[in-house]
């Protein structure tokens, strides 16, 4: 690791402008974590037009702050209102709200903040140490490796991520297809442009992102039935006791590690990490009945895990140029807009961006640790604003924002179309995340694949004979066939143990 570049990164981050953007980012992140409705991916999508105007490092610092800041914010409503602000804070509801009902809301929030901070920091250290190494290994990657890696990333997101796997794969394939719209860089021929001048340049990533995530999410939220009104639990005691800290230290440590590894995995991320950490904690507990009734570990573990995962999910993006989840896909697109190509060369070519982002996370998490507790009262007051009032404001930001990119009304309509697509996808159970991810990687996959074919002189077995790409293809095949193998195993065990009534067996065949 280049220590000088690492230290230079800190110098960059502590510039007043970058500190300000970091603060803005984490505050916005906390805010949308608290407010039900928009998530970090959607917010980043909506704020993408802003990145056109500001310095690349500042922009990425801010957008990154939104992502891990949201993990802090989601906890507040989970604990105080039994209402998860973010998907990654859903598990915190079980024990967090139970603690709040026992008058220990402050304990829960405090442990959550500390756990989040520790989880994030452990993850950042891991990121600091691991990222340069991975980037260095990846420098040997050629086009075949990239093609295989990008495809593996898309596949993992579809299989591990939320939603039905088959549908996620369909969404991803559609994303790959959409990426081909426009002029083919190799031959100059127009593909799927239908003689439209605007389409000849391909579909702008920002428009798709704002449409699918921004408008789609806004439309989807409009349809929510009237939930019940909540009474926030009082936050009396602020700090957890020493006993609480001791009791949760193990959970925090384990949660951080689980979060770190699950975050790196494409398709994993904060949501899966929080679930896995909670389940692991419950499984190893001496009296698991405590869980769901106010076990402090039930708050510490998922909160550490989700922050650790949110941080470590930056690794594939910064070192390989592969986004691990939808939010990373947004950041990938943002980097492209700013003229920065994510990949293993990033640490060498743009150490300011690489280390600037990583080091900003240290500072951002410190800011969050300091701010998250005092601001709880403010956030509960902000929750009094009816969602119906915030909705048109978000809508206007999105529409006016997309116009400012190219001063084009056509963009608005394309965005609206994708907004409708995103809404319909969510209604019919297709996740928009894999589509955006595949779209973002689509041109990379195709370019790498075609270049590979040129290298192999038309022989596709070249993919398998090269060691790294061969290994990746092997993993690809295993991941693709895993669900089939699982189904076959279930069939065999259910036939063998006919006497035992199996509980779930939602037969989809």
């Amino acid at each position: 690791m280049d220590v000088n570049a690492f230290l230079d990164g800190f110098v960059l981050v502590t510039e007043p402008q970058n500190l300000l953007y970091c603060l803005i980012g984490v505050l916005i992140g906390m805010l949308i974590g608290v407010l039900p409705g928009l998530g970090p991916a959607a917010t980043i999508a909506i704020l993408l037009p802003i990145t056109y105007g500001i310095d690349p490092v500042s922009a990425i610092i801010m957008l990154a702050g939104i992502y891990y800041g949201a993990q802090y914010g989601g906890t507040i409503t989970s604990v105080l209102l039994r209402l998860p602000g973010e998907a990654s804070s859903v598990v915190t509801v079980f024990d967090g709200f139970a603690l709040a009902k026992q008058g220990k809301a402050g304990t829960a929030l405090g442990i959550a903040a500390i756990g989040s901070f520790v989880g994030a920091t452990i993850s950042i250290v891991g990121l600091t140490l691991l990222a340069p190494i991975v980037a260095e290994v990846a420098l040997d990657f050629g086009p075949p490796e990239y093609a295989a890696l990008a495809l593996l990333g898309v596949l993992l997101v579809a299989t591990i991520g939320s939603g039905n796997m088959l549908k996620a794969l369909i969404a991803a394939t559609l994303g790959l297809l959409l990426a081909t719209v426009g002029r083919d860089t190799f031959s100059g021929a127009g593909r799927y442009t239908f003689s439209s001048l605007e389409l000849a340049d391909g579909i702008d990533f920002v428009i798709i992102a704002m449409g699918l995530f921004g408008v789609g999410e806004i439309l989807y939220n409009l349809e929510a039935r009237h939930g019940k009104v909540h009474v926030p639990a009082a936050v009396a005691n602020i700090w957890p006791s020493r006993k609480d800290l001791r009791q949760s230290s193990g959970a925090i440590g384990r949660g951080s590690v689980i979060g770190f590894f699950l975050g790196v995995l494409p398709g994993g991320g904060a949501v899966l990490a929080s679930l896995a950490a909670y389940a692991a904690e419950k499984r190893r507990a001496k009296n698991p009945e405590r869980f769901g009734r106010g076990a402090i570990e039930g708050v510490a573990a998922p909160e550490s895990a989700n922050n650790a995962a949110a941080t470590s999910s930056f690794i594939p993006l910064l070192t390989l140029g592969i986004p691990a989840n939808a939010t990373m896909g947004m950041l990938f697109g943002a980097l492209l807009i700013l003229g920065i190509t994510p990949g293993p060369q990033l640490v060498e070519e743009r150490p300011d961006v690489f280390w600037g982002v990583i080091n900003s996370m240290y500072i951002g998490n410190i800011m969050l640790l300091i701010l998250s507790i005092p601001l709880v009262g403010l956030f509960v007051r902000i929750l009094r604003i009816r969602p119906a009032i915030l909705a048109p404001i978000t809508a206007l930001i999105t529409i006016l924002g997309v116009y400012t990119i190219n001063n084009s009304v056509f963009d608005i309509f394309v965005m609206i179309v994708f907004g409708l697509v995103g809404y319909l996808m969510k209604k019919s159970g297709f996740e928009p995340g894999p589509l955006v991810l595949a779209f973002v990687l689509g041109s990379l996959v195709e370019a790498s694949a075609r270049r590979s074919m040129l290298i192999f002189d038309g022989d596709p077995t070249g993919f398998v004979t090269r060691p790294i790409s061969g290994a990746l293809i092997a993993i690809l095949v295993v991941v693709a066939l895993l669900p089939l193998i699982k189904k076959l195993r279930r069939l065999r065990t259910s036939v063998a143990t006919e006497a035992t009534p199996t509980k779930e067996e939602e037969k989809t065949r």
């Binding site: 039900p36 409503t77 209102l81 209402l83 009237h226 939930g227 009104v229 909540h230 009474v231 926030p232 509960v380 929750l383 009094r384 009816r386 969602p387 119906a388």
Partner: protein, 131 residues
């Protein structure tokens, strides 16, 4: 017969509860306390939790009055909720608390109390907090 008290956790609301309970004790009626949150809110400052509810019921018991608490939510116009409850319970009187609102304040932000006073179908007792 029943007396309907509109309650929010403010001095005006407390005054309304006091006067409403006193009136009910005087005439031997029971009381329905309406604590109505704004529909479609995530959090409403006016909605009270179980602990406050218990306090209210205890206060009613002190006066020797049977009380029930209703949390029917209201939309843009709170009068409808009051009216629906009046019909359901057969209340003969509404008791609400008033707070000082300037004319401009009433113009921009509206006044629920004023609307209830003007449109309720039963007599309305409007009380001010004892300062």
């Amino acid at each position: 017969m029943t007396i309907l008290i509109g309650y929010v956790p403010t001095p005006s609301g407390d005054a309304a509860v006091e006067h409403g309970l006193a009136e009910a004790a005087r005439t031997g009626e029971d009381v329905v306390i309406l604590n109505s949150p704004r529909r479609r809110s995530t959090v409403d400052a006016h909605l009270v939790g179980d602990d406050v509810e218990a306090t209210l019921l205890a206060r009613a018991a002190e006066h020797g009055v049977t009380a029930a608490i209703d949390h029917a939510d209201h939309g843009a116009d709170v009068v409808d909720t009051f009216e629906a409850l009046v019909e359901r319970t057969g209340a003969r009187l509404i008791v609400i608390g008033l707070r000082r609102r300037s004319p401009v304040g009433k113009l921009v932000m509206g006044s629920d109390a004023q609307r209830i006073l003007l449109h309720a179908s039963v007599p309305v007792l409007a009380v001010k907090p004892t300062s």
